[in-house]
């Protein structure tokens, strides 16, 4: 299998495959004409990389998984180093989700506060001790 087929079967591009090779993941054998040649095992490596990338793992973080597969293990996460990456990632995700949740709460708080302030100003300007706001528009009252 050449690089184009590998890439498409792996759900990515030839550029990405060459990039992975340049990073030392996914090395390639060469045919007589200089073309890169891959087998099904390489496809498994590539798919392992893509799966973790889709999870948001850095490329470097995929290295233990790739090396685990290349060492002959049935799964990329059959090795302790891979499990350590999983655990570290879980921690990072928890921290990130926590931070984002806190930010979300603060933004929601700001929105509510700003809306209240706006409504106060509208009530003050449009009807100081007067009727309900919007009554003078009347368009929907037909």
């Amino acid at each position: 299998m050449r690089i184009g087929e590998l890439a498409s079967r792996g759900g990515t591009t030839t550029r990405a495959v060459r990039y992975y090779e340049s990073r030392g993941l996914l090395p390639a054998r060469r045919a007589g004409n200089g073309y890169r040649t891959y087998d099904e095992d390489d496809l498994r490596l590539l798919r392992q990389i893509r799966t973790l990338q889709d999870f948001g793992f850095d490329l470097e973080e995929t290295r233990p998984f790739v090396e685990c597969l290349r060492a002959g293990h049935p799964e990329g996460d059959s090795c302790p180093a891979s499990l350590a990456v999983y655990r570290r990632k879980l921690g990072e995700l928890d921290a990130l989700i926590g931070d984002l949740t806190a930010v979300r709460a603060r933004v929601a708080e700001q929105l509510v506060r700003a809306e209240r302030a706006r409504d106060m100003l509208a009530a003050e300007a449009g009807a100081p001790d007067g009727p309900e706001p919007g009554c003078e528009l009347g368009g929907w009252q037909r």
Copy 2:
């Protein structure tokens, strides 16, 4: 006030302040010697930018807030355009948190699965129908 004081009081660097100016936020008056000159209102603008940046807003997303302040409103979020940014951001945060939570669940699942597989292999190799794993080490049994 010159740029150094503004930056430190705003909790950032002179480089960032100049960058904001180059993006059209936070314009500066100039003293006779060419130095940038700022007042307390500029500091409020800068602090508004920093607050939103700390929330993870893009610089462009701070523009409505800054323009709102420059238009004389008491708060950067006193304008409809700012509220719209708040709401859009809340949606983005919810989507992001949702995605990350889903990823977290999948990673946790992978970890559990991989740990189970590892334990199965250990039990199979270390003690196929035999005694408990670790017993032959005995170091802690003293």
